[in-house]
Amino acid sequence: MRLHAVRWVIGLLVSSTFVYAQGTAPQARGARITEKGVALTTIIELETTARLLAILLDSGRSVINENQPIFDDPETADKGFTPNVFEKQLQEVFRSRTGIDLQDLAAARVPMSTIPLLKALVEAGKHVVADAQPEINRKGIEFKGFIPAVFGQRVGRLFTVRTGVRLKQTSLVVRNPANTPDAEERTALEAFADPSYPREKAISEVTKQSNALRLMFPLYTTRQCLNCHGEPKGKLDKTGYPREGLKLGQNAGAISVMIPLPGK
């Protein structure tokens, strides 16, 4: 009982000092705070969407990468790499990387707004593969030039036209000038280049000024990449570009995603 009385008295003492402190506080100015703009929950959904789109595009690149030996066959005309074969392999790679089954997106734990974009990206990939059939099936030459970077660039362009979401492959050292990073992309790429940066963790930002979500998803070299981008540095690869001298598993650029904010 007595304890409570004491608490009360002290409380009174303390609060009376608060009043004093409030009196000396600078007066806040400005209009009544209003609620507008995009909520954090929406931003987190957009982040998820952007990350999944980046992984899906990179999964497509992996499929193209894995099939390079088949494409390089100069003897056989029909490589059998149809859009449907591509889709099957894409689903497999994407599921192994994210646990998400593209055939049953309704059951997957992805935001509703993400589903149409994922589907659109798969369609864009199939479209590009369909368009590339004459290249892939051309007889008489080994190297067809339908490599991951080319695939990624074509899919990105098509996807942007169809959805308004921009997908771009970029790197600190680019072969295609169109992939040159802008200022924001460059700073993220520099962060990824730090070997201590956690693997596959994206960097993203939504700013009022850009009114868009921008996400950078880091990529890492595989054995296939090193055929052209590995050692010995400077020696020309089969495309005629000097090799970059990258090592296995090293960060080698990123996929840049830009999704405009809803509304406005």
Binding site: R2, L3, A5, V6, R7, V9, I10, G11, L12, L13, V14, S15, T17, F18, Y20, A21, Q22, T24, A25, P26, Q27, A28, R29, G30, A31, R32, I33, T34, E35, K36, G37, V38, A39, L40, T41, I43, I44, E47, T187, A188, E190, A191, Y197, P198, K201, A202, I203, S204, E205, V206, T207, K208, Q209, L261
Partner: protein, 538 residues
């Protein structure tokens, strides 16, 4: 990320050097570290982890300049969050919001103690961006944020905390643009808040109306008392005086933590000694000389830094390890363990009736529960008694001081050699005063403070045994010594009783031992209960 933290650290702590302090003695004694927000009225304060990183001592200054030592309850380095606990009643807690509802371009209010100034500043801004990097996600706020704001709250328009200001999230370029500051969404604090007993998560973001704040100024004023200033003393900032430039050698810390016959005072070795003296009188004398030398050296060092206070009324207890507890007392004094206590000031005398009267007259303190001794003019120099723990604390706060911790009290009483009494190990002094099983001095009751110079501790602190028992800051924990941190222990985070130290005039021989731990309900008061105050070294 690290660079930015360093920059911030430098802004805040660059004044810490001994030379700078000597040139500028007017610099406030405490090192401003940051801001925090009260998230529960039981004394839980949320702040940024980097604000308290490496802190030897954390002091939370609540509205009205009430200082309270804080215990670190939990930290989350990844998201730069920390939860502190202070033992202060009557706190205004902030309501917590739902971070998911925070909108881009939403207007927010930040409250903080910029540059560690005593004046709180309230600034407005907008959420201009949401950034993620690795596992961290932050709001970017364009309000005017400065060092010292770190750890402070970001409120939404309903006066709910939606974020905690952090500076550790840097732009990937490593450049810190102006007007750019970051806040950790409050949702990341959930695991920390789970440490608060009975914390009601269901109220988060429920938009309970905040009083009758009709306008914005009213709202801001409601938010100010929920924010606190956080001062810290860094581990690396003030090492024991001996190792700093200006002091003669590294002898102080050594002498202070080197008990003469090490083997004998070792906990294992001292068992079975029973009541036999642990160290002989000659070595007690030697130790006393050493302790006094250490104290002198520390004082000179402080004087060099220009921060000596009231040497007449307070004794400086130098930093160092000492031996706490005793094997041959009650189980709660076991095990004997080594504790490092940072340097601090302790009142040489117990607070007297006349001193306490001044606080009552100032309208801050309430009169003792029993006023007979208090109103007796003849006993004005006797220790103030019949005060509760809270009254004792209020007095110390009024003086700009605080109650000592249990460890600080014991260190001041027994020095470094594990002795039984402030004067050594001789029980003769006690036996000579034993009357009917109690220690009686000249009076049948209290006596003027400092009358028994023979009973003083080597540091020159009086009445640690005899006169009255003293309230100390800590909650009582019977088994606390088994889990006590070895560095400036602050006692258990919660409890039912407060510790009382030092045998009173009614003490039985056992209770006169410096390691004896008394305790009582914090609302208890009596004629044998007094207190003294301590003060941090800036």
């Amino acid at each position: 990320m690290r660079t930015l933290a360093l920059i911030c650290g430098l802004c805040v702590f660059s004044q810490g050097g001994a030379a700078a302090a000597a040139e500028r003695p007017a610099f406030p004694p405490e090192r401003p570290a940051g801001t925090g927000v009260i998230v529960h009225s039981d004394g839980y304060v949320l702040t940024a982890q980097h604000v308290v990183a490496g802190a030897k001592r954390i002091v939370v200054v609540t509205s009205g300049e009430f200082r309270a030592p804080a215990a670190l309850i939990s930290t989350d380095q990844e998201h730069d969050l920390a939860l502190l606990k202070i033992e202060t009643v009557g706190l205004s807690e902030a309501r917590l919001g739902y971070a998911g509802a925070v909108r881009l371009d939403q207007e927010v209010i930040t409250v903080g103690f910029q540059f560690g100034l005593k004046e709180v500043s309230v600034t407005r801004g907008r959420i201009v961006a949401v950034r993620s990097k690795g596992v961290r996600r932050v709001f970017q706020v364009d309000a005017a944020i400065n060092p010292g704001n770190s750890g402070g709250p970001v409120f939404n328009g309903d006066g709910e905390v939606v974020g905690i200001l952090t500076t550790k999230f840097s732009h990937p370029s490593g450049i810190v643009p102006e007007g750019m500051s970051f806040a950790v969404p409050i949702s990341y604090a959930t695991p920390l808040l789970a440490n608060i007993p009975d914390f009601d998560f269901t109220t988060m973001g429920k938009g309970r109306k905040i009083g009758k704040a009709k306008d914005d100024a009213g709202l801001a004023q409601k938010l100010v008392p929920t924010s606190v200033r956080i001062d810290i003393v860094k581990v690396t900032e003030s090492p024991p005086p001996g190792v700093l430039p200006g002091a003669s050698s590294a002898s102080q810390p050594k002498s202070d933590l080197q008990p003469p016959p090490v083997g004998r005072i070792h906990p294992e070795a001292s068992q079975g000694d029973g009541i036999a003296p642990i160290v002989d009188e000659a070595s007690v004398e030697k130790t006393n000389e050493r302790l006094k030398a250490a104290q002198r050296e520390a004082l000179e060092h402080l004087a060099y830094r220009g921060s000596v206070v009231s040497e007449g009324m307070m004794a400086l207890i130098p930093a160092g390890e000492f031996i706490m507890g005793a094997e041959d007392l009650l189980p709660d004094a076991r095990p004997v363990h080594r504790v490092f206590v940072s340097a601090f000031w302790l009142d040489r005398y117990q607070v007297t009736n006349s001193q306490y009267r001044r606080c009552v007259e100032a309208g801050v303190c309430t009169p003792p529960k029993d006023r007979e001794a208090f109103e007796d003019a003849e006993r004005s120099q006797h220790p103030a008694t019949n005060v509760t723990w809270s009254q004792a604390r209020t007095y110390c706060q009024w003086k700009g001081k605080r109650l000592p911790t249990e460890a600080e009290w014991e260190k001041a009483a027994r020095g470094t050699d594990g002795r039984r009494y402030p004067w050594g190990n001789s029980g003769d002094v006690i036996n000579a005063r034993l009357k009917s099983g109690e220690i009686r001095t000249t009076h049948n009751g209290t006596e003027p403070v400092g009358s028994q110079s023979a009973l003083a501790s080597p540091y020159g602190v009086f009445d640690l045994v005899g006169n009255v028992s003293e309230w100390v800051k800590d909650w009582y924990g019977e088994d606390f010594y088994q889990v006590s941190p070895s560095h400036d222990p602050q006692g258990p985070a919660r409890g039912s009783f407060r510790v009382l130290r030092g045998g009173s005039f009614t003490a039985r021989p056992l209770e006169a031992h410096v390691s004896h731990r008394g305790w009582d309900e914090m609302s208890y008061w009596g004629p044998t209960l007094g207190f003294r105050c301590a003060l941090d070294i800036p």
